[in-house]
Amino acid sequence: MRIEVTDVSLVSTWAWDIPKDLSKGKHGVADQTVHMEKWEDIQNEDEDAENDEEEYEVCGICRNRYDATCPSCDYPGSGCPIVLGLCNHNFHVHCIKQWLSTETSKGLCPLCRQGFQLRPNVLINKMHHDEFQKLLMSVRQHNIPMGGGEIDQDVMDDGFIR
């Protein structure tokens, strides 16, 4: 049998290493690092999926773990990172974007109902900055006056200069 290779795709896996108390604001932003984990480890952990909510930190929207796939993803790591909110609430980027795209959201964090914004100067937020700015601007235009905290445009603009 002769095989002709027409395409080669690299496959890699990842997991966010989130310090337990990051969401409580005890760790500085500088503590955030991205680690690679062995695929086997991740799979083994997935078997405990039922206990997720008690044992691991989960995305408040989909209730899946931060390093698991959100319901919009096909396989782990298919472009589903988390973003950190200024209000200290973190979500899968897909989940929070879908929520902020609804009119009901009024651009607010689902947990604390403050105007949602990305935490500035955080590496993993950086690539979503423009997209969120657009999203929040359009939500804001559809909901005047806004039901909660105003989006702080200065923070949005200045956050990622460095």
Binding site: A49, E50, E53, G60, I61, C62, R63, N64, A68, T69, P71, C95, Q98, W99, T102, T104, S105, L108, P110, L111, R113
Partner: protein, 158 residues
């Protein structure tokens, strides 16, 4: 894994905890279809609903839940006399199910909020104006009506 499947998987275990001992039943009508649910729960203590079991019919739009909207929840029609419940249909007026919805809420949160509403009606925009007026003017009469209606519904079921 979708949110509703996630909730479904952990639900029966959570229902066995003391926190939810007041819920006697919460499950999909058909385990293969998570869009239709039924719930039975005990009326809140120190309210006219104490000592009665109430029934809810819950519909979930699987495409939308929980991001673009919460569940649609109705009391069993013609059982609940309450300022925020439409008597004939069982429709419930609760901000959490409408404008105040966020995807953080789960089915258990929703059922809990409905139970709280029974004990503590909102009188700003009542669905049942007559009951709201009686509640306001003569609380004892309100209690009598609520309990009479519930008793009637209970007898009808037997």
């Amino acid at each position: 894994m979708s949110r509703i499947v996630k909730e479904y998987m952990g639900l029966q275990k959570r229902l066995q905890t003391p926190e939810f001992s007041w819920i006697s039943f919460l499950a999909p009508v058909d385990d293969d279809d998570l869009s239709e649910w039924v719930c039975r729960f005990q009326g809140p203590s120190e309210s006219p609903f104490e000592g009665f079991e109430l029934g809810l019919n819950i519909t979930i739009d699987l495409e939308k839940y929980p991001i673009s909207g919460g569940p649609r929840v109705l009391f069993e029609p013609r059982t609940v006399a309450h300022p925020n419940v439409k008597w004939d249909t069982g429709e419930i007026c609760l901000d959490l199910l409408k404008d105040a919805w966020t995807p953080i809420y789960t089915l258990l949160d929703v059922v809990g909020a409905i139970r709280d509403l029974l004990a503590d009606p909102g009188l700003d925009s009542p669905l049942d104006l007559d009951i709201a007026q009686i509640y306001d003017a003569d609380y004892e009469a309100y209690v009598q009506i609520v309990r009479y209606r519930l008793e009637e519904a209970r007898l009808a079921r037997v």
